[in-house]
């Protein structure tokens, strides 16, 4: 094995790829998001007529055969197919040749749940036809680490290969952990992000029973309404985002286009409750403080926050409290939006998709809105970029992700040159 080169200590993003309910590929989804469109609609991936929630944000334009070999495309779990599609887009976008640094090119694509669709189908076979009829692919397609494993096989990535599973903060944790891996020199480049495909019978039933989702079945376009007084739960969604992350010196030496630099990564635990956030937003506050501290920035330097903003009564209230505590007076002037208002909650992919949105917002000087913001909530009284995108020159942005289990993650990113 070749030696490990000395790391520069700086980590940049040089390629991006995404599969979202507003379309596959950045050029498809981003203009629609800036236009305030919603990807939420009646569920078509399964017969949801018996479920209390019958709407979701599904990916409509995705065909696995466009991205994977025919045999795999036909049977592999959707979350792995999304991950590979995003990875391929990110590699093409960055122009990097993975074989040139194969042993120093790693992969860290997390999933909150893994292959739940395949698990559900095979459990049905077990019950109906017996153990001998369960697919030999059940285990590899179900385990959440297979996104990283499969993508590494497709592209010959022989560096660090691992996975994060931290519920709805998975995508942000994956990017943060990949940042540390490159920063300390264990890899020169990483494919990192999150992928999720939870819209199946067992996934939908579980979240319905947890009473975490909206029941606005008759008005899907208005269902996800973060920070609005009449919000009543999140909209389940699916998708993925993957980045090529790279040591700064390596990226510069090959003349790569730099989208953004990761400046700070904060991650904390609530130690409070399995599914409810800390009622003071304390863990969220501490993750933002940690990310700002690591970035060496004052709160006033942050020009945009992409909130976790799930549209649940608790999250949006406690996140607002945490932002006020972390940002002081600047909390009232910094633009904050929840793009879950348009694409719903992609769970383990959300942190990666939302980091991508921060990058695009800084690149284009355009902040995506929080749609469906109609009735102010006295407890959510900040600038949520209501309903219409806004132009703004942003150098530094912060994104939050929080997950069941009390995981809190904040990333601070700076605009590339």
């Amino acid at each position: 094995m070749s030696d490990w080169p000395r790391p520069s200590g700086r980590v940049v993003i040089t390629g991006v790829g995404a599969v979202t309910p507003l379309g596959t590929g950045v050029d498809t989804f981003w203009p629609r998001m800036l236009a305030g469109e919603s990807g939420v609609g009646p569920i078509t991936l399964l017969d949801a007529s018996e479920f209390t929630t019958r709407i979701a944000a599904e990916v409509k334009d995705f065909s696995a055969e466009d991205w994977l070999d025919k045999k795999d495309a036909r049977r592999i779990d959707r979350f792995i197919a999304f991950a590979e599609a995003s990875a391929k887009m990110a590699l093409d976008d960055s122009g990097i040749d993975p074989t040139s640094i194969a042993e120093h090119f790693g992969c860290l694509i997390g999933s909150g749940i893994g292959g739940l669709t395949f698990l559900g189908e095979q459990y049905r076979r077990l019950v109906e036809s017996g153990p001998g009829k369960v697919s030999p692919f059940l285990v590899p397609y179900m385990i959440p680490d297979m996104a990283s494993g499969y993508v590494s096989i497709c592209h010959g990535l022989k560096g660090p290969n691992t996975c994060v599973v931290t519920a709805c903060s998975t995508g942000a944790n994956a990017i943060g952990d990949a940042y540390h891996i490159i920063k300390r020199g264990d890899a020169i480049a990483m494919l990192a992000g999150g992928s999720e495909a939870p819209i199946n019978e067992i996934g939908l039933a579980g979240f319905c029973s947890a009473r975490a989702m909206t029941n606005r079945n008759d008005e899907p376009l208005r269902a996800s309404r973060p920070f609005d007084a009449n919000r009543d739960g999140f909209v389940m969604a699916e998708g993925s985002a993957v980045f090529v992350m790279e040591d700064y010196d390596h990226a510069v030496a090959r003349g790569a286009t730099i989208y953004a630099e990761i400046l700070g990564y904060g991650f904390t635990g609530d130690a409070h409750h399995m599914t409810m956030p800390d009622p003071e937003g304390d863990g969220a506050y501490r993750s933002m403080k940690m990310a700002l501290h690591r970035a060496g920035l004052e709160p006033s330097q942050i020009g945009y926050i992409n909130a976790h903003g799930t549209s649940t009564p608790y999250n949006d209230k406690f996140e607002t409290m945490a932002i006020k505590r972390a940002f002081g007076e600047h909390a009232y002037t910094v633009p904050i939006s929840s793009t879950k208002s348009m694409i719903g909650h992609t769970l383990g992919a959300a942190g990666a998709i939302e980091a991508l949105i921060c990058i695009l917002a800084m690149r284009d000087g355009k902040l995506p809105p929080t749609v469906n913001y109609e009735t102010p909530d006295p407890e959510c009284d900040l600038d949520y970029v209501p309903n219409v995108a806004r132009e703004a020159d942003v150098t530094y942005s912060l994104t939050n992700s929080f997950g069941f289990g009390g995981h809190n993650v904040s990333l601070v990113l700076s605009r590339g040159q």
Binding site: K71, A73, R74, S135, P136
Partner: protein, 79 residues
């Protein structure tokens, strides 16, 4: 060798292994010519069981190496 069995074996093989119909000839080995790995073979055997309504015990799977082997085995099994 029953022509009907061959056609049905071909259909299942094309579907499960993602190969072209013309590749599925009698002498083709599932692992060496049609790209099946060990997990693919298990899945393929299950699909043959479903298609023909038979049971293929684990200790008999070893005799099915080629498309022709599968057709012969299945015809014998079905009497």
């Amino acid at each position: 060798m029953a022509a009907d069995t061959f056609e049905r074996v071909k259909k299942v093989t094309v579907e499960k292994l993602g190969v072209k119909e013309e590749e599925v000839i009698e002498t083709a080995s599932f692992t060496e010519d049609l790209g099946a790995d060990s997990l693919d073979v298990v899945e393929l055997v299950m699909a043959f069981e479903d298609e023909f309504g038979i049971e293929i015990p684990d200790d008999e799977v070893g005799v099915i190496k080629t498309v022709g082997d599968a057709v012969t085995y299945i015809d014998k099994k079905r009497g």
